[in-house]
Amino acid sequence: MARQFPREELFAPGHRGCAGCGAAIVARLALKAAGKNTIVANATGCLEVMTTPYPETAWRVPWMHVAFENAAAVASGIEAAVKSLKRKRGLYEGEKVNVIAFGGDGGTADIGFQALSGAMERGHDMVYIMYDNEAYMNTGVQRSGSTPFMASTTTSPAGSVIRGENRPKKNMPMIMAAHGIPYVATASISYPEDFMNKVKKACEIDGPAFIQILQPCTTGWGYPASKTVELGRLAVKAGIWPLYEIENGEYRVTYKPSKRISIEEYLKTQKRYRHLTEEDVEEMQQLIDHKCQEMGI
């Protein structure tokens, strides 16, 4: 399977991402799958900042950044313009142009949620990729609506009274699915074939598609830079990050671990969970068991 990956790199090396940055893996794999006939709209965040310090750029496809909360709206404009100019002036002839928007979890689930919901509801032919590192990493690890239960961040710190984030993670894929869009999927940087297949499918489908990809973050989660891919795999194997897709309303698990590992094996690798007691871990295990049962994992 791996040898079928396109060799062409549309996301160039030499960007300013941290060692072990998962966002760089997201962008690199997504562009390999989408190919060069792609236009990218990027929300403000790590990915934008680390890839475009003027006069450098890591993007070998047309790329645009406007602000934090509007990547989906900007992509709407790009998609509409491509359509209009194609019709009126015969531009963008030939292959289909993929319009892809990238946003982090803050730029997607929080401040960018309105623009995203609008773009999905209007049915623009675009792929929105939420690279989810589960906090505001670009500003220094503050909690977002996508921060998981009991994770410690600088604005949901674990103290003597409060045990880190007190609310469960916002369920973005299901919210997107409720928009009735033709394609919704989850993915992990540690399962590249699965992710790339999903990006390819999302590009081919006519209409809006949403992919949420878990992207471990060495700085925010607190683990050695060499462990990014390993942590992404542990999350899937522990069942905390199930891989599935919802195609035209049909839900399908795309990867089922042969045997789930305990959540402890995943949690103990990261500083953001180091405050957890045995009881906390047990509570989390029960929540995940329940969720996995529901999801058929």
């Binding site: 310090p53 003027y54 496809v61 645009m64 509007n70 709206a73 313009a81």
Partner: protein
């Protein structure tokens, strides 16, 4: 053959966008702008305009979609007002900084609180420093003519800035006036096709737009926008002159318009529909043998300071009328901008906030005040309840 329609200001704006054959419209309804984007929706629905119409969920997304469309090389139009314009504020900077020649109609309306849908110019004035060119229309014909010119100015290679064409809410947006609608072919011939060389998102030539500009680069980009504003002064005049030649309608030099200023010792300065009322008062007083002048600002940004100075040489008393207020300074924006370089007794009059009527009697009161009582740089609120 002349085609004159009796239409509102918002319809005139929509007609202008149609004549310029815009490629993408992104719009959200807000009073008193709404009828403009309704009209454009009709044009698209009836096949009179071949454009993509994005029914966005907010003004923030309207302007964001316009930036995306413009960056892709499409001629782009939107319209807004008041709170909607305020919601766009953040992205207005981005549009100018990224040099997107978007044209936007703004129906001037007061800002909350208290909520008020009526006219003043606080909304556009509050966007003064975003880098957008701001033009103000006196009537519905001028609205149509300015929007057509705006595309040509915005897309000029020496400018490449977004333009906001302002018209007073209700006073123009909801009042019907005869407006001459030029032929589409003639307009297209005048405006030309938008062929961006600086910014277009096309896979055959990957381009990074909206990069991170660190302290090594940011300041130069701001300076570039300032230079583009400077260049716009000349371009606005040139485009105006060409427009006048081709369509037979002229508005001063395109930047400012003077009315009886040569003979007058006392001149009023303002912008927008109020200029019409003032011209009437000037005519009335002229009939009584008294000479008063008006200097109408069409281009507020860039502000043609030299031309204003030149036009008011020898003037003794100047009254600057503002439909906005910089709270805490007790001055309107136009006064703050213009007064420092005028060599005359100059007083500021805050008028018409939130749709408060400005009657001819008020204009006469202002003239009398600036001539007799006013101290230099004094501010007076007109029509305020006791």
């Amino acid at each position: 053959m002349q085609n004159v329609k009796v239409i509102t200001g918002t319809s005139a704006a929509a007609e202008a966008a149609k004549l310029a054959d815009v490629d993408v419209i992104a719009a959200y309804p807000i009073t008193p702008q709404t009828t403009s984007v309704e009209k454009l929706a009709d044009f698209v629905a009836n096949g009179e305009l071949n454009a993509e119409y994005i029914k966005v969920e907010s003004e923030h997304s309207a302007i964001s979609a316009c930036v995306g469309a413009s960056a892709t090389g499409a001629r782009t139009f939107t319209a807004t007002s008041s709170q909607g314009l305020a919601l766009m504020h953040e992205i207005l900077f981005a549009a100018a900084g990224m040099r997107m020649p978007i044209v936007m109609m703004n129906a001037n309306r007061a800002l909350s609180a208290p909520i008020n849908i009526w006219n003043d110019q606080q909304d556009s004035i509050s966007q003064r420093d975003t880098g957008w060119i701001q033009l103000y229309a006196e009537n519905n014909q001028e609205t149509l003519d300015l929007i057509i010119q705006a595309f040509k100015i915005a897309e000029n290679e020496n400018v490449l800035l977004p333009i906001m064409v302002n018209l007073d809410g209700f006073i123009l947006t909801h009042t019907v006036e005869p407006v001459e609608i030029p032929e589409k072919e003639k307009v297209l011939n005048f405006v030309g096709q938008y062929e961006p060389k600086h910014a277009y998102l096309r896979p055959e030539k990957p381009m990074t737009q909206g990069a991170l500009g660190d302290p090594e680069w940011y300041m130069e980009t701001r300076y570039d926008v300032q230079q583009a504003q400077d260049n716009a002064l000349k371009v606005i005049e040139e485009v105006h002159d060409k427009f006048a030649e081709k369509f037979g309608r002229a508005y001063g030099n395109g930047l400012i318009e003077t009315y009886n200023t040569e003979k007058a010792e006392t001149v009023l300065i303002t912008m927008g529909s109020l200029c019409g009322t003032i011209k009437d008062v000037i005519d009335e007083l002229k009939a009584e043998g008294k000479e008063y002048g008006l200097l109408k600002i069409i281009s507020y940004r860039p502000l043609p300071t030299e031309q204003i100075k030149e036009a008011l040489k020898g003037t003794k008393n100047i009254a600057i009328l503002d439909k906005d207020i910089s709270l805490g300074l007790n001055k309107g924006a136009l006064f703050t901008d213009v007064a420092p370089f005028l060599e005359a007794k100059t007083a500021n009059y805050i008028v018409g906030l939130g749709g408060r009527d400005i009657k001819k009697a008020h204009i006469k009161e202002i003239i009398e005040h600036v001539e007799k009582e006013a101290k230099d740089t004094e501010t007076k609120w007109i029509g305020l309840k006791e």
